[in-house]
Symmetry: C2
Amino acid sequence: MMIKFHETHIEMAHGAGGKASRRLVEGLIAPHLMPETLLLEDAASLAFSGQLVFTSDSFVVKPLRFPGGSIGDLAVNGTVNDLAVSGAEPLALMISLIIEEGLESVVLEHELRAMAQAASKAGVKILGGDTKVVEHGKADGLYISSAGIGRYQENLKLSMERVAPGDKIILSGPIGNHGITILLARGELDLSANLVSDTRSVWPFVKVLAETVPQGLKWMRDPTRGGVASVLNELARDSALGIELEEERIPVHPAVRGACEILGLDPLHIANEGQFLAVVSALEADKALAGLQALAGTEEAQMIGQITEAHSKTVVAKTLYGGARVVDMLVGDPLPRIC
Amino acid sequence: MMIKFHETHIEMAHGAGGKASRRLVEGLIAPHLMPETLLLEDAASLAFSGQLVFTSDSFVVKPLRFPGGSIGDLAVNGTVNDLAVSGAEPLALMISLIIEEGLESVVLEHELRAMAQAASKAGVKILGGDTKVVEHGKADGLYISSAGIGRYQENLKLSMERVAPGDKIILSGPIGNHGITILLARGELDLSANLVSDTRSVWPFVKVLAETVPQGLKWMRDPTRGGVASVLNELARDSALGIELEEERIPVHPAVRGACEILGLDPLHIANEGQFLAVVSALEADKALAGLQALAGTEEAQMIGQITEAHSKTVVAKTLYGGARVVDMLVGDPLPRIC
């Protein structure tokens, strides 16, 4: 017997655990997220042996939809990417929804469909989840938390401790597309650009990189909030090494560069949702880069800099004109609720 | 070098991924949740072999603190209990915070401490997490999502398919304490009572039950939102069996009974955060019950009813006066944001 969900808006009762909750879950959520079982279980069970990687993330992006994606895409891809850059093949997700009373059911349905499609594309299963509803004015449409588990690739030895002077830093592609897309989608600026979010699973690219240079690959991270600058500053600080970037090698879409110039922002601080940074030994860096550049989706990958013994705990960018500047972490929050 | 977090309120920048985020995470969140590593990692890795159980849940309880606990307790115990009633020993959690701009840091700190203490008491490790901040008026202080993993106890064979007519239903203790405590804590009613939430990990009790009657134990569930009535209705519906409750055997605190009478609520619909229901074969039910009653914390456990072939998909309560009534699922939401 198929339950149909006919309500046009989400009400408090849909979060109360009774009949209305069942209608929502069995009539709308499960058919999208778990078409095979049609059950949204509290917990799911699976056989596993090996090194397990476990992660979770919440998503509060505003607006819910933007060119190139939506909060549902981020909720899947963001968690998948946390697993991927940890060196793990993403396996399964659990999805928790916090819904604002009054949300149109079609808006929720759009995000359920987005999550299902993103999960299918990323090769992960959604195993279950949870739904809460809060009063109108106590959320902003929809917040999503997603937790993920993955299998660590045992041929890898990712560790910040292996990072050493001379290692090269590879970036998978152009930066800032996600953050600037969100900013423009809010319509608060009198700017428009032919730009879309880069939200996607990076696992296919990470997988090839891991197979190409399993020994040389030492560290990875996805430069989301805070951008490339914040991630590399954390690496420099935590490893007590220096980082030297060659600014002209960092791929930046002209629309991102233009918006950043107008707004006084640094593309290195802008969030990405489909890129990653990798530290690779000097010996294998060319091979790693060539491997990525040969893939559809990371053709624009670049070697953007290196690890140095000098200027410990500091990221320095050599500029186009031969100068050098210190690249600091993001200060303040010029772009709130980017993911 | 220890970072100290001195800000009195949470601001948008604390969720932006830059310097302020690091201060919050390294100066406040990690010292409480992960005192050993002092790092709140995006993802955590652990060796695992066996049957893995994976769950996640969001918590939006209002108010944040109430007699007997707080949202931090629920976030740990709720996820731990989802694992426990799935037959899994809870192992580790990931915690995601959605914080409303302007939240007092001391309020956040109270919840971090509550989570750390609840996790320690429940014997689970918090491995990492994520922090987002939304504008004032876009949340209600603090929402928490927690994801958990556990190890399925391989001597168990929990499955709704094993539930059969004649099986007994055991309840771990008095019902409704959590829901009514929250209702009273809101101060919307001119009632007060010497009542506290039952929030706790049920794993120690489940563990003993599983060791006492590994073969006879067939199914478990924690009656949270929607209460005992909703959980048993789901069991009846999904198994196509009937359920017969002996109403006088169901333990209900006088204050819960009194509040329910005044409000026209049924204690069977009220949420619990530290109880569980178990279906046990008739042959082993007495042994199971005696095992629970011998434990500090489940002394009030009762055999409250049985599975029947008759009245398929329906829960019927035999009343004190020899009559019988149909116990339906919760309809509507008399107690919003209970967890």
